[in-house]
C-alpha cells in the first residue's frame, strides 16, 4: 500500500518537475537597476540601451518608458514605436539581449540560456576574457571583445567552441586539474553545442 502511494506521488511529481518552466524574473517591472541614469532598466530586462553593440546604445531611439499605470505593483512599461532616419524602431524590451544594427534586417534579439552562462562562467571565462593573463587563450578567443568580430569570424569561432569542447580539448587538462569543477559532462557539452547551433543559425539568418 505504502509503495503504491509513493509511486502515485512520484508519477505526479516527476512530470511536474520535468515540465515545470522557469518563472520570468521581475515580471512586474518592480525592480530597477541604474535607476535615474540614462541606462536605467528593469532588473533582468534589456533594451537597446544596454545592447551588445556599444556604438548604437546611445544614439538608438528610446522605444519604451517607465509608467506608473500598473495593473499591480507600482510600475509598468509602456512600449512605443519611433520613426528615426526613415526607419521604424519598434518598442521592445526583452529578457534576452538585443543586437541592434544600422541595417534593420540585421538586428535581432538573442538569449544566452542560464545553463550555458553557468558553463561559460565556470569553464571558459577564466582564460578567455580580457582580464585573463593567458595571452594565447585570449588571442584565440576573447569573450570580452566578442562583438568586435565580424559575423563570419563569429560563426567560425562558435563552431570551434563546440568542437573543442566535444573533443574534450577544452577546458585543458591542466586547468581541470586545478579546477575539477570546470570539467564538463555530456549534458553540459550538448547544452553548449545547442546554444552554438542556435547562435550560428541567428548569424546566418541575419546576413
Amino acid at each position: 500500500m505504502r509503495k503504491s502511494i509513493l509511486s502515485v506521488i512520484l508519477i505526479i511529481a516527476i512530470p511536474l518537475w520535468v515540465f515545470s518552466q522557469q518563472q520570468l524574473q521581475n515580471p512586474g517591472f518592480e525592480e530597477w537597476e541604474d535607476a535615474g541614469t540614462v541606462r536605467d532598466e528593469p532588473v533582468n530586462w534589456s533594451s537597446i540601451k544596454t545592447s551588445d553593440n556599444d556604438t548604437l546604445n546611445t544614439p538608438a531611439p528610446v522605444v519604451w518608458d517607465i509608467s506608473d499605470d500598473a495593473h499591480s505593483g507600482n510600475y509598468s512599461i509602456k512600449l512605443f514605436n519611433v520613426r528615426i532616419w526613415g526607419i521604424m524602431a519598434t518598442g521592445i524590451l526583452t529578457n534576452g539581449i538585443v543586437h541592434p544594427s544600422f541595417i534593420p534586417d540585421s538586428g535581432y534579439v538573442y538569449t544566452v540560456p542560464e545553463d550555458v552562462m553557468v558553463i561559460l562562467e565556470k569553464s571558459c571565462f577564466d582564460c578567455h576574457t580580457t582580464e585573463s593573463k593567458k595571452d594565447k587563450a585570449k588571442n584565440k578567443l576573447n569573450f570580452s571583445t566578442w562583438n568586435e568580430l565580424s559575423k563570419a569570424k563569429k560563426v567560425g569561432k562558435l563552431n570551434a567552441i563546440c568542437e573543442e569542447v566535444e573533443n574534450g580539448d577544452m577546458p585543458t587538462e591542466k586547468y581541470i586539474s586545478y579546477y575539477p569543477d570546470s570539467q564538463l559532462n555530456d549534458e553540459q557539452v550538448s547544452a553548449l553545442c545547442n546554444w552554438v547551433d542556435s547562435e550560428i543559425e541567428n548569424l546566418m539568418d541575419s546576413k
Binding site: K136, K153, A160, K207
Partner: protein, 154 residues
C-alpha cells in the same frame, strides 16, 4: 662475449629488415578528388604555393613523400602524422564541409600559423622551405578574412 655481440647485431639487423615488411598505407597523390580545396576556393598564386609547401603534406591526400618515408619505423611515424593532420583538417575534403566548418577551419588556419604551432617544428626541421615568413602569414590571414566574408555571404 664476441658471440653475444655478433648475434645481437644479427638480431637487430633482422628486426630492421622484418619491420620493413609492415608498410602503412600511403596517400595517392595522383587523384585530386572532387572535394579538393582548389575546386572550391579561388586562391592567388602565393596562397597556393604556401599551401603546397607547408600544409598539404599532412592536411590533404596530396602528400609528397620523401625517400625516407619508405623506411620503417619512420614510415609509421609519418603515417600517424598524416592521419592526425587529415583528421584535424583535410584540404582534400574541403568540399564536403558545411559553411560553418569551413569558416571555422579558415579561422583556425590563420590562428595556428600566427601562433606558430603550425607547421610543426619537427616538420620544419626536415622541410626548411616550409617555414612561413611573417609577410606570408599576414597575406594568408588577409586572404582568409576576405574569403571568409565571401563564404558567409554566399
Amino acid at each position: 662475449m664476441k658471440k653475444i655481440v655478433f648475434s645481437l647485431l644479427i638480431f637487430i639487423a633482422l628486426f630492421i629488415i622484418i619491420i620493413q615488411f609492415f608498410q602503412p598505407p600511403r596517400n595517392d597523390q595522383s587523384i585530386t578528388g572532387d572535394d579538393f580545396f582548389m575546386q572550391y576556393q579561388e586562391a592567388p598564386a602565393y596562397v597556393i604555393e604556401i599551401l603546397n609547401k607547408s600544409c598539404y603534406d599532412c592536411h590533404s591526400d596530396q602528400t609528397k613523400y620523401p625517400w625516407y618515408s619508405r623506411v620503417a619505423p619512420v614510415s609509421w611515424l609519418l603515417n600517424k602524422h598524416v592521419i592526425q593532420g587529415k583528421e584535424e583538417l583535410s584540404f582534400s575534403k574541403w568540399g564536403s564541409l558545411t559553411i560553418r566548418k569551413k569558416l571555422s577551419a579558415f579561422n583556425e588556419i590563420c590562428e595556428v600559423i600566427t601562433d606558430e604551432s603550425m607547421p610543426m617544428s619537427s616538420y620544419l626541421k626536415l622541410h626548411k622551405d616550409a617555414v612561413i615568413s611573417d609577410h606570408d602569414r599576414e597575406m594568408i590571414c588577409k586572404w582568409i578574412e576576405a574569403e571568409s566574408e565571401k563564404l558567409f555571404l554566399e
